[in-house]
Symmetry: C2
């Protein structure tokens, strides 16, 4: 009897929940708690006041719902974008204040959309394969559905039945139909666009009580589970939470992931969506945060705008929901404090409370050395973040050996980037795009994005014969990933990752092993051993995109003084001005630059001969779309080749007290003592001391013993690598 009663109660509750509004953003109970907390926690109060100020300006005004006309950056685009945030915020205020004017504002706008939407066709500025109706691309229409769906749900109780019908059929149905039917292929994509599309349709489904919409959102338009939100949770992340498009796009996708999961948690709690796949949403968020610089900007892997940091709305939303779902986390609190705003929901209120408590919040996110795998099964390469130092003195070496990363991927297998003290030192151009700027092709990706920024030469990895990896063909690149050979990131003295690919170029095996070393005394340096094994002779270019000013070179170069030409004619080379070049032979070539207040020196071993190039972006750029950025390129020729480089972090230039310390590199000599298919042994002399690196090129078993060298000098070690400093193994 009691058992039956329980089941009966459960049914009632579920039915209640189904009927209840709001459900998407928060519930009635949650809203009441937030309301109650408003006065208590300053950050919550400020966040509330900020929204209220924005919305109150519109309370007595007639908000324009214009016929779509302009691309991003233009009036109609920005108006519709502002409109959905205005409706959403007004909906929140309706629940927190009970003031009917907020519901009225939303209702009036929704009724205008109900008039507008049924008559819409493809947007006049649409250029992509997924055109929008309200906006130039369907992605923005999906954004609109996410926020407008929540807004409708939030004011549902304040709208008369007849109006509800008009809105559901006029404002929402045409958009949902368009996206799920006309654009069903796009809707079913396992891609950040698909996540937005499913979240939009699903949230509207919950808001309007339309089970069909929610089911399509969860399981794809065919409802077979091959696509839809669940498939996106399963298909876009590696098991450890790495998002295959890279950190810039997880920042973007995390928002619909969390908002839709949050709505599902209220509407379909039985899904236990936040527990799905071993809490994949929590892993995704934490992996995204690890992939940021100490200033909070996301590492610019693949297409990425460098301005985006973890204070964006997307991360505020994800963190505030995660805090409530997964519990307190000091790292999240550090980020939340920098965000200096919270959502007006349970998590936001709880974070605001934690920040009010007066407890010390650490100044930096708890960054650590970490490796992420790529691919659904985690078997498609990955990315390693090697870190040394802490807080404002953190050094991060990024080594990327992932899969391609879908349509926003770059041709940059075995690429490295270096961040130090919050500065980008060895850089990635990011993407060529002025987001939201109408004059720059409506804020879309510019032609130079494909033609330059995604090409191999725009990165810090090897280019063979002036062509990009996989011939610069996305379809080909999608088939392969690089492979990690071995790594060891556990000890601060030596961190190492080795990876290879033999698919980037036909008949060519590329193998790069990077070491982040912290020598006794604290000196940090990167040792970079790039071995190439090829069937035939080629030209090899290894670029270092650096940020900083040229201070010194150990070699003489010829600068192009009165006249400058482009370095090449295709595959990105046409965008580089050749500022200077040098021919060097049998030497140690060193180049020192200054970035911020720190010196960086690249010491490169030239065994036979090499050409060294100083280039700068900006050639063949008729619309000034590119920033002017320098690179230092090491060019060698041959069949099998090795690039042995040491990147040293040294000294300090203090322009205030006008003192420079350790402005010269310590490296005095680099010798390649052995280079065979079995081993590479490199001897580096710095400050009169010997740094010796031995690594295996074939046998990466963790414990195998190796012996090499000759009678004069025998080297013995176990495992895939060994590093000695002044004769002592580190």
């Amino acid at each position: 009897m009691i058992r039956w009663l329980s089941i009966f109660c459960l049914l009632i509750t579920t039915a209640d929940l189904q009927a209840q509004h709001p459900l998407t953003f928060f519930t009635k109970t949650e809203a009441a708690t937030v309301k109650n907390d408003l006065a208590k926690y300053p950050l919550l109060k400020r966040s509330y006041a900020g929204i209220k100020k924005q919305v109150d300006e519109w309370l007595d005004k007639d908000v324009d719902v214009p016929f779509p006309k302009d691309p991003a950056g233009g009036y109609t685009h920005d108006r519709h974008k502002s409109n959905y945030m205005l409706m959403f915020n007004s909906g929140i205020l309706y629940n927190l204040t009970g003031d009917a004017r907020y519901a009225l504002l939303v209702k009036k706008m929704l009724l205008k959309y109900a008039q507008l939407n049924p008559g819409l066709k493809k947007h006049p500025e649409a250029t992509s394969s997924s055109p929008g109706r309200l906006f130039w691309q369907a992605l923005n229409d999906a954004n609109w559905l996410v926020y407008t769906g929540m807004a409708y749900d939030l004011v549902y109780n304040g709208i008369a039945a007849a109006d509800r019908k008009a809105i559901e059929e006029g404002a929402f149905k045409p958009e949902v139909d368009f996206i799920t039917k006309d654009l069903s292929g796009w809707f079913n994509l396992i891609h950040n666009h698909g996540v937005w599309a499913c979240a939009g349709v699903g949230i509207v489904g919950i808001a309007t009580g339309n089970k069909e919409y929610v089911d399509m959102a969860l399981y794809g338009s065919a409802k077979d589970g091959k696509s839809g939100f669940i498939a996106q949770l399963d298909g876009l992340f590696a098991p450890d939470g790495y998002y295959t498009e890279g950190p810039y796009y997880v920042r973007y996708a995390i928002l619909p992931y969390y908002l839709f999961a949050n709505a599902l948690q209220h509407a379909r709690p039985e899904l236990k969506i936040f527990e799905h796949r071993g809490r994949i949403l929590q892993k995704a968020l934490l992996a995204g945060l690890q992939q940021t610089n100490i200033d909070g900007t996301f590492f610019p892997l693949n297409d990425a705008l460098k301005e985006k940091d973890f204070t964006t709305n997307e991360l505020v939303t994800a963190i505030d929901i995660a805090w409530a779902e997964y519990g307190e986390d000091m790292g999240l609190l550090t980020v939340a404090k920098k965000q200096d705003q919270v959502l007006l929901n349970k998590g936001g209120a709880s974070i605001a409370a934690a920040l009010t408590s007066g407890k010390e919040v650490p100044p930096f996110y708890p960054y650590k050395s970490v490796e992420f795998v790529d691919g659904v099964k985690g078997d498609e390469g990955g990315v390693s973040l090697l870190r040394a130092g802490k807080e404002s003195d953190l050094t991060t070496l990024i080594y990327k050996y992932t899969a391609h990363g879908l349509s926003h991927g770059h041709f940059d297998k075995l690429n490295i980037n270096l961040f130090d003290k919050g500065n980008e030192v060895l850089t990635d151009y990011g993407s060529v795009r002025f987001i939201g700027v109408e004059q720059k092709y409506g804020g879309r990706y510019l032609p130079e994005n494909d033609k330059y920024a995604s090409q191999t030469i725009a990165h810090n990895t090897l280019v063979v014969d002036e062509t990009s990896h996989f011939g610069g063909k996305e379809k080909e690149a999608e088939k392969y990933h690089a492979d990690k050979l071995f790594s060891d990131i556990g000890r601060s003295a030596v961190q190492v990752v080795s990876a290879s690919t033999d698919k980037a170029y036909k008949g060519t095996h590329l193998q790069r092993t990077v070491y982040l070393l912290q020598l006794p005394g604290g000196k940090k340096l990167v040792a970079d051993i790039f071995n190439i094994y090829a069937d035939t002779a080629h030209q090899y270019d290894l670029p270092f995109q650096y940020k900083g000013q040229v201070i010194h070179t150990s070699f003489k170069y010829q600068a192009h003084l009165n006249k400058m030409t482009a370095l090449g004619s295709k595959n990105g080379y046409q965008y580089l001005w050749k500022e200077a070049e040098a021919k060097v032979a049998d030497s140690l070539a060193q180049f020192t630059f200054l970035n911020g207040r720190t010196y960086y020196s690249i010491s490169t071993l030239v065994q036979d001969s090499a050409t060294l190039l100083f280039t700068r972006t900006g050639a063949n750029d008729p619309n000034f779309n590119l920033r002017r950025e320098p690179a230092f390129i090491i060019r060698k020729k041959g069949k099998d080749q090795s690039f042995i480089n040491v990147v040293e972090i040294h000294g300090k230039m203090d322009p205030v007290i006008e003192i420079s310390s350790q402005s010269y590199p310590s490296v005095q000599q680099i010798k390649l003592l052995q280079q065979s298919s079995d081993f590479t042994v490199v001897q580096i002399k710095l400050d009169g001391k010997e740094l010796l690196i031995a690594q295996c090129n074939k046998d990466f078993a963790p414990k195998t013993k190796h012996i090499t060298g000759n009678e004069g000098r025998k080297l013995e070690w176990a495992g895939p690598y060994a590093v000695w400093y002044e004769g002592k193994q580190l």
Copy 2:
């Protein structure tokens, strides 16, 4: 009887003071107060702890006093530089702790200098006309005297008489003799070097009780008052405190000015040095602070490194002394808070106390529109800072019509610079120098400083026939200054300054009038009317050095795609790459760029024809000494010519929410309605509204009535200018 007694007491006191040590940095009584305050005020405590940590590291060590060998940035240079600060700080600690080890440290170092100095000859790296001995230039030797003199005085009581003699005769006398005799011409200069030299000799004089030294320091080596510190107080500042070398160098000179004045206040209070010339030292400090950007960096007029801001040691010193001498000042407190360190003296303790009080300190220095005159009598032109907006939204238009500014002056008569929201928008290159970097010519000014940065084309003012003002000859430039014709900076709607020169080029009269306007609704813009009257035909270039990315132009241009050449061959033109050019005729040419999150548009009237050039620095730069910076150059030909430009500040690009607003300029048309020797009348149409500017070109009397126009449109106004917006006079 009482009167006699007073005089007797006064004599005693003076004698006491003379004999007493320390006297230069602080007195015994002052030291006791500071000691007493240490525990009370966190900032004072932190400043003390910082110094103590530095000095304590050396207490048990033997400090090297090497034989001078290296240029700036090299070991011996930096060691001697560190040494004098170490001795000075150790001297302070001796007085605050009573710990004899601090005196011992200084004594041991001074005895080494007493051994070293008598044998020194000209420094092996000396290249200037004022070579040093301990350092490559005498200026650094003067720095050494200032701090070492104070150090000696601070530990005087802890040194035995025999050692004192050795130090005074071995360490100080050779340096003082060298500077006052061998380099007497340099010592007697009315120039920042001279200020340092006199302060050094004078402080050593006070420390060693050597009246001769103090007298030479005060009145020049001939003691006739034609040079020396008093003459420097009288000769380097305008009556309002403007320092003729510009803000970067007042930052540098303010330190010896204040330190020597501080020492004199103790040793020769009868001089009332801080009251001298109507408190010229206070005026100098406040004028220097007004010439900073909201981030604290000094405006880069003349030779200037842009990294220098008001948190440097020089300004900490000046502010802490000024606070004690001239009383509390909320503006100084704002700066002191940003400095986050204080001197361990009376003023420093008092500032630390004020910052402990919990009283709110304004976030920004109290910037205002202000005009400074140049020249000892204030009759050699000047500089106007027009400001609009406040706090982080401050706009500053700098208009420079000064004298040349001695050896660090640039050939930039009638130059403008624009700062907005803390960003440099229309820029000045500053100087070409990597201070303290040995690899860059020992940290000296680089050849490109004279050849590019000081040339007219590196600025935002008119270049005639590709030659610099005054033929680029300093001697010629020193003879002249520009003249202000009229100005009005009192009203926020319209601020205006007009100035002219007919000496920059022979037979050519240049007259530029700049308006900083804030229209009803808040829009800020600069109207820039540059009239040229010449005897013969010339080529005129008006460059706008801008910082930002090209967003849009209203005109078609030809970009140089595969090959780029230098713009010219001399007078700075050889350093500019010609990236793109356009020929335009009879039109309004508009160029929009994005800087930070704000759009800026330059709208220029082309009445007949003009060439528009996009350039970038970096040509003919074989050592990569120049930063790569862009300029937009308007080139016209003719005899009399007018350049009518409107620089608009507009819109916002928010990459985080991805919305751009008002990204297009408002200006739709510019018409030169009248251009005569009497009047210039310009009509600007923006957003469909009319902005009308009428100005007098000859009669600048403040109240004269003017009538111009024709029957269709008659204009009447009083005074040198009038501005109407939508028919209403602003």
